[in-house]
Assembly symmetry: C2
Homo-oligomer: 244 residues x 2
Amino acid sequence: MSITVNELKTACSQCNLIELCLPFGMSECQLRQLDALIGTRRKVKRQHSLYRNGDPFEAIFAIRTGSFKTDVLLEDGREQVTGFQMTGEILGLDGISSEKHSCNAIALEDSEVCVIPYARLEQLAREIDGLQHQFHKVMSREIVRDHGVMMLLGSMRAEERLAAFLLNMSHRFTARGFSSAEFHLRMTREEIGSYLGLKLETVSRAFSRFQEEGLITVQQKHIRLLDSAGLRKLVHHHGVAEPH
Amino acid sequence: MSITVNELKTACSQCNLIELCLPFGMSECQLRQLDALIGTRRKVKRQHSLYRNGDPFEAIFAIRTGSFKTDVLLEDGREQVTGFQMTGEILGLDGISSEKHSCNAIALEDSEVCVIPYARLEQLAREIDGLQHQFHKVMSREIVRDHGVMMLLGSMRAEERLAAFLLNMSHRFTARGFSSAEFHLRMTREEIGSYLGLKLETVSRAFSRFQEEGLITVQQKHIRLLDSAGLRKLVHHHGVAEPH
DNA sequence: GGGATTGGTTGACGTGGGTCAACGCCGAAC
DNA sequence: GTTCGGCGTTGACCCACGTCAACCAATCCC
């Protein structure tokens, strides 16, 4: 079996990811109440899935270590990566609407998640003031994020998309205490391409071009941002000419 | 001022949109409790906005009559339409995450919405069993919908996108008791294009081509689907060749 | 009612990124 | 250490869609 169920009981109040995760902004006292929330932890090996499209929905998941991608598949086999998730981020919200998961969540590296049984979450959300609101915020943030991706896919050119992607990764690494200028991508060029609506060759060429222009250095999956202001400019200025 | 505030008190229990809207699936008794939920109604004239990016978030909105588009703007003026909303659908969920709205909601025709003060919703969600769950479903559905749009934008070609769009509209009109084969689009070619990540000329050409091929008839905004099976095939078969 | 404005269609042409193919690098297996 | 398979890079070519422009239809508004 691809998944190891680990019966270790865990507690939000002891976790060092609270400021990134569902319990963000809750009081000491509320946090202790929250410890009833987490069921178990679960380990997921690289390339294995946490859940698949069609699986019955029972819980959402908070990433403790590692990272994931989510994707949807078209009947003819085309894949669309809908997101990359890092520690503290929540997976599985798509399943609430139909009581079945509607995408696949696949580990990009050996990872571990906290299993949050959804029925228990609803229960506690009614009791603990602030949890409900926090959960709504998490869902809302997901919606806002998705709108940003639509903007990427619908209105930006290849290099703008990749620049926006790199800045977003940098931002999220920073929030986790890692370097904002230097990081290791866990996903392949093809997965980046799928996420950005591009082919892997286009992604690869854009990386090379950014390197030629002195914006970044690339060595396989290891990225160093040399000029993030330059990248930011690339995203917003529609490529070339200044108006007036 | 672009908006008329109408102090008519309204009640979910009297509304004929319940099976499409937030109260879906709730019991008679719960429905009566729900009547405390709606604040006022508000009329929004065609082309006017219900809320704009940056506005403080206070309420979500259920569409009673009319329709809307939501969009996000890039600093250089590029617009991305993130969705079209019809009666019974909920607007404003994006605002919960940051306590400010993060997109613009603009009426496509003279419309009316129910104002649902968010604080009151959170309150009632704690009291009325089922409302919380229903609200979560609405948010989750929005996330799933967004993933579908990403699939469109990231992995489909122009005609596939338009075919998927037409089928989606047909589906939603049907759910509202209108003809599934004949309907009136409230948005312009440019808005459709923005939503689908295409230019208006490409949208126009794809409409013409569908007409030539006998899939639909087009007269301005009036669409008749002649062969929705053909459209469906178009979406899933990657355009041309059959495998094997 | 007529002129202006907005939205839609169509054609000719250009180009960003897709496609196809060759090749190189690196880590895993043994 | 050698082999192998997956991943990444690069080049040559092509095509789907964007761009630009002309024109028409519908609607708005004095």
